[in-house]
């Protein structure tokens, strides 16, 4: 019953299929890209003089779940000025850095985004996360369970039982309807259970006979044994601390030997926060060059930026000891929620100021990383929403990446000392639309192993963005403000073959599917028996009440994964 659609004459950027701005028609039927449609019957979008790209993909944005909601609860002042009215097609909502769920979906859709990954799900709270994702319309979505400090992982890895650990991870992934293995400050989060932290890859985790290095390597092996589509997704130890770029280098190195066939085995997320040189805040410098050099010489790593924008926002991570430090540093209000046996979360409101040396350096470091890493398939555009700024700032970041002038315009307004320490003035690189398409959709989809997303080849999901930019006429370096504006409001957003937004107006409220991994291992039952026995000791809920049932997902989209064990 879905109609056919043809998008005519646009300049198509489809990096996965090697299309670099050719004028082409894109045909759509039943939610998929097809070879051709009946041109007389099909609905037509005239995209002449416009960019056509796959729908945007976000590999890392905190948009749903218990920590995001604790952020919303903590910050009514974040919502007061940002209210959205109910319309004939949309629900109402509110919020700037921690918007309510419906509003989140609409805002992504207006920017031409169609798939997003929620990167921090405490497994015990998975039901909550999925309820919120059900209420996040317009996009397909997935969620990463936090596994780096889960007792089962710590115990099995410390005993060298990789395969058994893998079976538990498989069970948990499927039970929580998760998409990837998330590791946050491995060992440090467990230590936070008694108010402590760990400070290097080789420090012993209190009460457990294991080190962060062993956790990362162990889960990297588990990830490979299970054949998961994405790599391990790592928030490094020492995040947010001066000098931490060495920890980041070590983290990347520590799994170097586990790579094969030039395939990535680790994703370092919001790398900006982990690329600090210097011994304290006063001597803070950029570690972007060193990290970029390493990444340019290795193929087993992907990164995302975690780009800072100057605004008021809300920081939230499972790295609760880091959040506590931030609370002490800023004196802002602070929420913490430890989750038994698994993880934690901390939340602190935060404002990035142009005139602050540290914040301005952070702004610079994110862009330096993106520009110094030569291959756009290795680094993706994110703000670690809302940690370094809300996702609605992506168009601004695109303009910084595409235009030296845009960078200079901001540079003039930032802290003087940061101006002199920033590497940006020495960087002339300006990205083109092809590279932007890689960094905002194709590369992210590829890193996530989403075969039907991030491209416009026949058989792909018909998730498409059309932007009012004529790449033949417009010079993004000079006209960066036009670029910014165009990416803020897609001319058309097509989701699952339907036009859902036009020029910033939501035409149709669609649900969007929840993507999750159904991991099959050869022996599953044994895990269950053992689990049941230990469950009551570890958690305060019954084993039977822990999993998220498939029918609690409004639209379930399981992805079958055959494990090697």
């Amino acid at each position: 019953m879905k109609m056919e659609l043809i998008i005519r004459n646009g300049f198509v950027f489809d990096p996965i299929n090697g299309v670099k701005g050719e004028k082409m028609d894109i045909a759509v039927r039943d939610g998929k890209i097809v070879e051709r449609v009946n041109e007389r019957k099909a609905l037509e979008i005239d995209a002449s003089g416009m960019l056509v790209m796959p729908g945007g993909v976000d590999i890392h944005c905190h948009i749903a779940g218990s920590e995001v909601n604790a952020g919303r609860l903590l910050r009514p002042e974040d919502h007061f000025k940002y209210s959205e009215r109910k319309t004939a097609t949309t629900r109402s909502g509110s919020g700037h850095s921690v918007p309510s769920t419906f509003t989140t979906g609409y805002r992504y859709s207006r920017m031409g985004y169609t798939t997003i990954m929620n990167p921090a799900m405490p497994p015990l709270m998975a039901k909550h996360t999925h309820k919120e994702l059900n209420d996040t319309p317009m996009v397909d979505k997935g969620s990463f369970p936090l596994l780096g400090d889960w007792w089962f992982v710590l115990e099995h890895l410390s005993n060298g039982r990789i395969e058994e650990c893998a079976r538990y991870v498989a069970w948990l992934m499927t039970s929580t309807k998760g998409y990837a293995v998330k590791i946050v400050n491995p060992g440090g989060v467990e230590a936070w259970g008694f108010g402590h932290n760990v400070h290097s890859l080789d420090e012993q985790v209190p009460n457990f006979n294991i080190t962060p290095r062993e956790i990362i390597r162990g889960l990297c092996k588990v990830n490979k044994l299970l054949n998961l589509p994405h790599t391990i997704h790592v928030h490094t130890n020492n995040l947010g601390k001066p000098g931490n770029y060495t920890t980041t280098l070590e983290t990347m190195k520590c799994v170097e030997d586990l790579a094969a066939d030039d395939k990535p085995v680790i994703h370092i997320t919001h790398c900006q926060f982990s690329a600090f040189k210097g011994s304290d805040w006063k001597t803070l410098r950029s570690g972007a060059e060193e990290i970029a050099r390493y990444v340019n010489n290795h193929s087993h790593v992907t990164l995302d930026m975690g780009q800072v924008v100057f605004t008021d926002t809300t920081t939230m991570t499972a790295d609760a000891p880091f959040q506590y430090t931030l609370h002490e540093l800023t004196g802002s209000k602070w929420t913490n929620q430890d989750v038994e046996t698994e993880t934690s979360v901390g939340i602190v409101p935060f404002r990035y100021r142009r005139k602050s040396y540290v914040h301005a350096m952070q702004w610079s470091i994110g862009l330096e990383l993106a520009l110094l890493i030569k291959d756009p398939w290795k680094i993706f555009l994110t703000t670690d929403h809302p940690n370094a700024g809300p996702f609605t700032a992506y168009p601004r970041i695109i303009s910084w990446l595409m235009s030296r002038r845009a960078r200079e315009a901001t540079m003039k307004k930032i802290n003087r000392r940061a101006q002199s320490k920033s590497l940006l003035p020495s960087i002339t690189r300006e990205l083109d639309f092809y590279e932007i398409a890689v960094m905002t959709r194709a590369g992210q989809a590829k890193a996530l192993g989403l075969k039907d997303k991030g491209h416009l080849g026949v058989g792909a999901d018909a998730d498409i963005a059309v932007y009012k930019i004529n790449p033949e006429e417009l010079d993004p370096s000079r006209d960066y403000k036009i670029v910014r504006k165009a990416f803020r409001r897609a001319a058309y957003t097509v989701k699952g073959g339907e036009i859902v937004a036009r020029n910033g107006e939501i035409l149709k409220h669609v649900k969007g599917a929840t993507l999750w991994l159904k991991v099959k291992t050869s022996q599953q039952t044994k895990v269950n028996e053992d689990l049941k026995r230990r469950f009551r000791d570890y958690w305060t809920v019954e084993y039977e009440n822990y999993p998220v049932s498939e029918n609690s997902l409004d639209i379930s989209h399981p992805i079958n994964v055959e494990a090697k064990i």
């Binding site: 629900r91 309510s100 108010g195 430890d338």
Partner: protein, 435 residues
């Protein structure tokens, strides 16, 4: 006879999910693992039931079909300028979700019983944040437990057994220390290692004194709220010296003089303690899903309770947009009450205003509020006759089960609200066509 295991208890915020029920002839005949409150509910819930929708005509109730009652309810709600949708703490998240959509559709105000119990806790959290944890974290690690203005042995009977005093954890095999702070010697206080009986309405002073003491400040008074300073020093030392402390506070703190100020002080005290050790705080939420109602309102609108849709978008200003204040100002001109009996708990004047205007009640019981209603829509018992999701006081979501069949033809809160919503939409579309 059959048994159902791993059932979640739909009574208090502990949300124990380990009940084992024996069912005979679609009736619960035996409850294993539950406390007295739980047993009373499962074995006695079916008394004083309403089994037919009722509509009041000329002052008298008439039994009608759901269709007719829903139509009347939708009429009341579409005609109202400023309807109030109140209750929500004893039903499923799914029903609350339907309620929010309905409130948005009719431009009304939706508020929960938080207004009357832990509203100040929420405001306190919005002021200073909260250092908290799930109950399992407490069980595994806490060596010091504090109950402040809360009497779990009576109000949350299994809290101590499942999560705190009477249970061992991975890192806590020894007996934990228990401090109880209250204005009278409660049942819980009887079991405490340290009982601090403070003068009524002086919680704030005690909390501030403790904050000063943990900062190593000297108090230049001999006593605070009837407690000698040396004793307070002892308490402060105990708090600082523990490895992991957990402070649970109840309505004894949130509903006495000072309300928000009390909560700000208790949350700040706990926050401060993290400089010296690990400490968490948690409000002892009463009704089994008041936390869930807060949660879902927050993610859908940005605000946890007292959400006003009259301008087409969510507005939040407790004191203005909260149910009691709206009723006391006599501003609402109709109300829908779901899973709550406000006539029994609201100030008299507020209850009067509620009853004077068109009133719709969705409830399994013929409650005091239902008796004053214009439309009564009988519903199932959530967690017994229909399923859904509820949130434990520590924000852990748990499934509510349908254990027995409801009486023939009786719908769930969620179903009733969904039909009212579609009826309201239909009526509005009709009005658009023939204004």
């Amino acid at each position: 006879m059959r048994t159902v295991k791993h059932v979640t208890c739909p009574v208090c915020g502990c949300l124990c999910d380990d009940l084992e029920l024996t069912i005979k002839d679609e009736k619960v005949v035996k409850v294993k693992n539950g406390c007295a409150l739980c047993k009373a509910k499962f074995l006695g819930y079916s008394k004083h039931r309403v089994l037919k929708p009722l509509v009041r005509k000329n002052g008298r109730f008439f039994e009608v079909s759901y269709e007719e009652a829903v139509s009347r309810a939708a009429e009341i709600l579409t005609e109202a300028n400023y309807p109030l949708l109140y209750g929500w703490s004893m039903t499923s998240c799914e029903a609350v979700s339907a309620g929010i959509e309905l409130a948005e559709e009719i431009g009304g105000v939706i508020d929960t019983t938080s207004t009357l119990c832990h509203g100040p806790s929420t405001l306190g959290i919005q002021d200073v944040g909260i250092s908290s944890a799930t109950l399992g974290q407490v069980r595994h690690r806490a060596d010091l437990i504090v109950y402040w203005g809360s009497n779990p042995l009576i109000a949350h009977p299994r809290h101590m057994e499942r999560y705190t005093i009477f249970r061992k954890g991975r890192f806590q095999k020894e007996k934990r220390k228990l401090i109880v702070v209250d204005v009278r010697k409660t049942e819980t206080a009887e079991t405490a290692d340290i009982f601090l009986q403070i003068k009524p309405n002086m919680d704030y002073e005690v909390l501030q004194a403790l904050r000063a003491l943990i900062r190593d400040q000297e108090l230049d008074v001999d006593e605070v709220a009837g407690i000698p300073t040396e004793r307070l020093e002892e308490i402060a030392d105990t708090m600082v010296e523990c490895r992991f402390g957990a402070l649970f506070f109840g309505s004894g703190l949130t509903m006495t003089r000072g309300k928000n100020r009390n909560i700000d002080a208790v949350l700040s005290l706990v926050s401060d303690l993290n400089k010296l050790t690990k400490f968490i705080a948690m409000p002892m939420r009463g009704h089994f899903n008041v936390t869930g109602a807060d949660m879902i309102l927050t993610w859908q609108t940005g605000y946890p309770y007292a959400v006003d849709f009259s301008l087409g978008y969510p507005r939040y200003n407790p004191g203005e947009t909260s149910a009691v204040d709206i009723l006391l100002r006599e501003e609402s001109d109709a109300a829908l009450v779901v899973a709550s009996d406000p006539v029994a708990s609201l100030p008299r004047k507020a209850a009067e205003h509620l009853a004077e205007n068109p009133l719709i009640v969705v409830d399994p019981h013929m409650s005091a509020t239902a008796r004053m209603a214009d439309v009564v829509l009988p519903s199932t018992f959530v967690g017994i006759e229909s399923g859904g999701t509820a949130y434990r006081m520590d924000h852990v979501p748990l499934p509510l089960k349908k254990i027995v069949e409801p009486p023939e033809g009786i719908l769930s809160d969620e179903e009733i609200l969904r039909i009212i919503l579609s009826e309201v939409k239909r009526k509005k579309a009709e009005q658009m066509e023939n204004p």
